[in-house]
Symmetry: C2
DNA sequence: CAATTTGAACTGACTGGTCAGTGCAAAAAC
DNA sequence: GTTTTTGCACTGACCAGTCAGTTCAAATTG
């Protein structure tokens, strides 16, 4: 009897090629931007012929869009997992936010190029992949918004907070601080950076000691 | 070659042309990115012949670099002014940070395209104008760092805060929240957005009412 | 077992188009 | 009469996307 034959999603070989192309594309586009990165460069970095890029992806833009979706999927899964685990283990929503900050830092630590690219392309308008970008942005922020909403509902947060704006601000805080960390103080430990952001989150900036 | 600005012979007419080119370039590059924007487009949008672009700027990259410097000069002047005015009028350093948040929002409200472009290009590496970018980034963050340092020195802030990281986080918070505001909730008033960010800054997120 | 067939995956030279930057003579502005 | 702008043709490099041909592992056959 036939085992579960050709899995929907392509052969293992093909999947490996696509993965190599993602990895090549993400660093090049993070460094240079989408338009300045050529398909030839991506193929060369991936150790693959140019035609292979077009065998696996309909176009340069499509490769990029799928890369975005792939990366954001990883990020949101990680954020969601951190928040859920914290709450499940009896933590408060502030604890959950803190756990998400850490999860965000861990992600950025592991995939700095993707983060760079995400920030750089996120607010572009008039681009072909605009709708993808919208979805992909909302996905990440929505996880934070969810925790904020829960906190407001259970009285842990003030009802006066502006959920979407606060979520965006928190995401921005982590993104920019982390990019700065990676770009200008790469020696710092993740715990160190996390501690600094925790302090800011919990308003423990003011006041001596 | 005397390409530097503030040339003795810099006529008012020439300055006006350069200004038109800045304005055309900033919106186009914000929308499309540097590489995807052509010199022909910039010239057309500015209502000027292509040759004029090259009469006024050595190259497309140089035009962009001078544009960056010009815009960041405006931003930092505004931030510095806000902080100094607050302190001069007897405000605390927290008040100064708050005033800088507002000044940042006012700037972004007035020059959204520049802000977009700034964020998009700020963490690019391997680009011709890398050194310019470094200067330009440090300029904006340094103003915030200055206020944090003063606050630590006079005991208003904990000595444990990580000044560079906290400054970057604050800048990120404002940038991302503001871009979100402009992109997705443009109806909101500046005061509204400012209030939400103030609350976050002062740790008044937790706790009922 | 080989030997052969099949087809998905991959290759890289090639094409058609785009674009930064040049050159220059003439007009306009100052 | 000097500076600045115009208009436009031109070049050379670069690049996204194509396509006819190749590879190779697994399936089929004898």
């Amino acid at each position: 009897m036939e085992s579960s034959s050709t899995t929907p999603g392509g052969s293992a070989r093909r999947e490996a090629t696509r993965q190599k192309l993602y990895e090549a594309a993400v660093t090049l586009i993070a460094e240079q931007g989408f338009s300045a990165t050529t398909v030839d460069e991506i193929a060369e970095r991936a150790g693959v012929a140019k035609g292979t890029v077009y065998y696996n992806f309909a176009s340069k833009s499509v490769l990029f869009e799928e890369l975005l979706r792939h990366g954001v999927g990883l990020l949101t899964a990680s954020l969601r997992e951190a928040a859920e685990r914290t709450v499940r283990e009896g933590g408060t929503r502030v604890d959950a936010l803190d756990a998400m900050i850490r999860a965000g830092l861990v992600f950025i630590d592991r995939y700095p190029a993707f983060t760079q690219l995400y920030v750089a392309e996120l607010w572009r308008t008039n681009r072909a992949w605009n709708s993808t970008l919208l979805v992909v942005r909302q996905q990440a922020v929505a996880v934070v918004e969810g925790v904020l909403h829960e906190g407001v509902a259970n009285g842990e947060f003030s009802e006066e907070i502006d959920v979407p704006l606060t979520a965006a601000a928190l995401v921005g805080m982590v993104l920019v601080a982390a990019l700065d960390w990676k770009s200008f103080q790469p020696g710092r430990s993740l715990d160190d950076v996390h501690a600094a952001l925790s302090r800011l989150l919990q308003g423990r900036v003011s006041g001596r000691r």
